[in-house]
Symmetry: C2
Subunit: 625 residues, 2 copies
């Protein structure tokens, strides 16, 4: 803690205010659980009173899910070189099934730790990692299957409910019935429900014991749809400080998990900074780093190198690993006639290895060995779709579906070890073929959470692939996908900058919420209703604050009507002051009230008797002239 912090570390401590400024119109709250150390962060949006013209009532605050961690909390002291508070450390320790390690278990990790040249870029406050006691299994799935409700499970139950218990009943009367395609979403999420979903593999709670800084979060079709944002450099750009700031930026806008896809010579050190400062689950693709260890020659990869990489990353605290164990040798030639072949980096690495050795994928042949590692740290599998289609033409082909069947087989193996598992999915798929993907995944993988990249619904819009893919993401989320991996506008073209990341996340928050609404997720419509009421009543600031991106909404509004006074004006910039459809609607309401049409409340609720009564009333009205 008191080690001297060289330049890079000092730099990393100074997050720019552009990523930490509080989100306008809201405050951070913490909802307590059954024990004092369960404090679930949420964001409360405070609303103003309805103008007298529209009735003058109070508007209750709206509580929303908050992925941004302490960074948006003006009360929180942030010290990147110290890392976030280890809020789960006590929970992990009290279970008594893990031990702190005297030294790192991976050879690579040890060599990095001993290399003095890395002092300048090293995270300075590392504590010793933990591992399961010999023979112990420390996965949330293992606990769940033994009937245990962990603090993590209680935490996510509270988090998923978003304090809607109080308003849920009223809210549901103002929410359309959903079509959930076989999902079973309860009206209230209980800790026991969380446990049961994890136990049967239908949800995962990715929480490595070495990432105690994380705020637990659950991924499953019966919970809110989650999104992932990727960060990472490449040979061409970026440094450590920039990567941490990217993380904070990505969770500010709503990334539920972040995948660190960094490459380059400080990949190990970068990851440490990211994990120590991340309140969200971190995923990686360990084969990327393994490939760097063999200088980019896929054919030189081996199980020992990969195994050491898994352990290295597991002891840093990575919460889920993408493992391309379904790229079997026999599937590889199925891709030869594709328009875009193999587009997954991990998939192509393993394909090359298989071809070079004329052997079965070592991730497949060593899958149970991998399970042993996963359960010693509670790393969740994200079984990679290395053969996903890279264009519309290749969608739903034999290679893709063959691999998916193998992922289903591997899911059952992982579950045998009580290892949490989700399944990655495509990619590029035209709309009419999306549901087939979801249905097959549910069938083959026993409802293990599906985690898809989009899918992009057309190939012809480079520069706008956050949109081509948000369409597919919303649909597959509706059909049952549990987490959506974002796509930025730079997809296929280059590395996303900060604006691209924000645009990609927004497109995916939209897709995820559209999916929740369509599934009929209880309470999902509360925020839509509150925002639309604010819009109708010209409560401009409330409308901005209830939106996914309050800053952008205000900025856009200010372009046309920049004066603060206009925020209270009872007209909008589209119609101007002389005519306003919202104002006319108020006339309609007044008219209806004057003519005793209040009875029609009932009509909205679909009661046929009241409807007939109203029609009779209505007939009087329009014939009396």
């Amino acid at each position: 803690m008191n080690a001297p912090h060289p330049t890079l570390q000092q730099q990393a401590q100074q997050l720019s205010t552009s990523v930490t400024r509080p989100i306008p119109g809201s405050r951070k709250i913490h909802v307590p659980g059954s024990r004092s150390d369960v404090q679930v962060p949420m964001r409360e949006i405070v609303l103003t009173r309805t103008p007298t013209l529209f009735g003058g009532e109070e508007n209750a605050p709206v509580t929303v899910y908050d992925t941004s961690g302490p960074y948006t909390d003006p009360q929180a002291a942030i010290d990147l070189a110290a890392g976030l508070p280890a809020l789960r450390a006590g929970w992990v320790a009290e279970r008594g099934d893990t031990e702190p390690l005297a030294r790192l278990s991976s050879a690579f990790g040890r060599s990095r730790a001993l290399d003095a040249r890395l002092d300048a870029v090293r995270f300075p406050s590392r504590t010793q990692p933990r591992r399961a006691l010999a023979g112990a299994n420390v996965t949330q799935m293992h606990y769940a299957r033994r009937g245990i409700i962990t603090p993590e499970m209680e935490f996510v139950a509270i988090r998923e409910n978003q304090r809607l218990e109080a308003v849920r009943e009223a809210a549901l009367l103002r929410q359309h019935p959903g079509e959930a395609f076989g999902a079973s979403i309860p009206a209230l999420i209980t800790p026991a429900f969380v446990r049961d979903e994890i136990a049967r593999g239908r949800a995962v709670l990715p929480n490595n014991i070495n990432h105690p800084e994380s705020e637990p979060m659950i991924i499953g079709r019966n919970f809110l749809t989650k999104i992932n944002a990727n960060i990472g450099n490449s040979a061409v750009s970026s440094g450590i400080a920039e990567e941490v700031e990217k993380l904070v930026w990505a969770i500010r806008w709503g990334g539920d998990t972040v995948m660190d896809l960094s490459t380059g010579k400080h990949i190990h050190e970068t990851r440490e900074w990211i994990i120590r400062n991340s309140p969200v689950a971190i995923g990686t693709v360990p084969i990327y780093q393994a490939l760097e260890k063999v200088d980019g020659r896929a054919e030189d990869l081996s199980w020992p190198i990969f195994r050491d990489t898994l352990i290295e990353q597991a002891e840093q605290g990575v919460d889920y690993f993408t493992i391309h164990a379904g790229v079997l040798l026999r599937y590889v030639p199925l891709t030869a006639r594709r328009v875009t072949g193999i587009v997954s980096r991990g998939g192509s690495i393993m394909a090359k290895w298989c071809l070079a050795h004329h052997k079965e994928n070592f991730l497949y042949t060593h899958f149970e060995d991998i399970c042993e590692i996963m359960k010693a740290y509670d790393v969740t599998f994200s079984l990679g779709d290395g053969l996903r289609p890279g264009c519309i033409a290749d969608a739903n082909d034999a290679a893709q579906f063959g691999e998916l069947e193998t992922l289903g087989e591997l899911t059952k193996v992982a579950w045998k070890h009580d290892v949490q598992t989700m399944i990655e999915g495509p990619g590029h798929v035209p709309m009419q073929l999306i549901k087939e993907n979801m249905d097959k995944q549910l069938r083959e993988c026993g409802e293990a959470p599906f985690y898809t990249l989009g899918p992009l619904t057309t190939d012809i819009a480079p520069g706008y692939d956050h949109i081509t893919s948000a369409i597919g993401a919303a649909m597959i989320g509706w059909y049952g996908t549990a987490m959506l991996c974002y796509v930025t506008p730079k997809e296929h073209l280059g590395l996303p900058n900060r604006q691209d990341v924000r645009d990609g996340i927004m497109a995916y928050r939209i897709a995820a919420h559209a999916a929740d609404l369509a599934k009929g997720h209880p309470g999902a419509q509360v925020r839509d209703n509150a925002l639309s009421k604010a819009r109708f009543e010209f409560r401009w600031e409330d409308q901005f604050h209830l939106g996914l991106d309050p800053e952008k909404a205000k900025e856009f509004h200010d372009e046309t009507l920049p004066k603060d006074a206009h925020k209270l004006a009872h007209f909008c910039s589209m119609c101007g002051p002389h005519f306003c459809s919202m104002k006319i609607t108020q006339d309609v309401r007044d008219y209806a009230a004057e003519h005793g049409l209040g009875e029609q409340d009932a009509l909205q609720d679909g009661m046929a008797g009241k409807s007939a009564e109203f029609r009779a009333l209505g007939a009087d009205v329009y014939r009396q002239a």
Copy 2:
């Protein structure tokens, strides 16, 4: 033509090169029809040869639909004060059922023509408008029902085919079967098919006889999905010159029609400039102008004022009118309990009129009078959904569906007069309720083309409603909507600027194309396949050129790899030069070729026998190590 052009007119003549610069990598072509004056414009994207590494073959050019008119043609001389060439003038005249008018028929039009104060803003080259001879019906529907194939119908048949006749068979082998939900899209669009679709009301060809500058275009569920872009000022901004440039900008990016929603004191003159320079169909909402004529007091509207406005605009050449004739008095109180009441301007104007007079909507009671005007100029109905939902909560309610039923009734009245008709639709609808809208519209309105605004699938993303709505638009387009009205990122917040218009159109071109792919529109996948092949082969420039927005794609790519040399580099910016999944796929192909796996072509085509043969081969491969 040789009249002196005052300041504003000179200004309008100078379109900025930002709206007229040619679209990179392509050239304007004209495909001839059966007569020399049928010359159908298209855009041909010229492709480079495949690099030797990937086979070295030629890549045929790809022809795409082109809405941009002469503006993107470097050969065309543009003179805004003269207007575009009247390419349809001869077709209209030769039918012998219309006559040029000695004077304008509308009192308002005449008063504007005589007002010398307007000389400075007046379009200088106006020719006399035409009208049907007494008792004649000059609609395309009327001709179609008499078995006539007009040059307009031949034009759109050629245009819809996009020169795919030659490649269609090969293309279809590389296209997924669609799910068209009852649409009947033929493999080749013939002029007779166009006629038959118009005759039965399943498609409209909006082409006012007074807009001979237009390039015919068809809207119907069995044709390519179209999009509309709105332009217009408001009390707060804009001028005439700017409006014309907005038109050119909107069609550059792909607006198939443009609605002119301008208000303000020069609304009549602005419209004239726009129509005279528009190669696409222009729509308006005449009630907006009528309202200005009564100083914004909806209750002062009357049939004579509205009738004069319809004639005024019909003689200028407006191709379709939004008419809110379905806002019946009895539906108005149904909106009183909505969260956002009536959000359509036209709907709220008519609701206010109905309430103020305690009378039925005069657009409804005078509907057959309106039909008489429509058929004298061939103006197409766009029956307005004045009661569309303005938020998720109000979707699919009694007011909305009641109005839709009335629009169905009016469609049959319009068809009795052989007047072309399309139906406007929502709005804000969560995904699970979208299909109900489409199914009900098809049922109530006898398959008349549906023309929807989005729908937006959530309310919570002000600033990003081009995305919330592109999701709904793609889905409803798939289900059968014929034209999608765009939504810009400024929706609900302010007036769109140029960038917002481009972003909105792009989102909607994506939605429309995703819908065409999903319906299995024959040949729709040709462009996706060509772009993805270019992508795989690192033909960067070809990839940009085949995209919907080549300039944006190149700009994004250049941010990461700015040097021209990189456009030819066989790696992409995501993986960097050391490792590239595309390159590995080429290794897979080489491997497959070496090992005699070319036989698997058959597998892609789904031939079971060949598949078994391949598996046997494959087994050899992966067991030989």
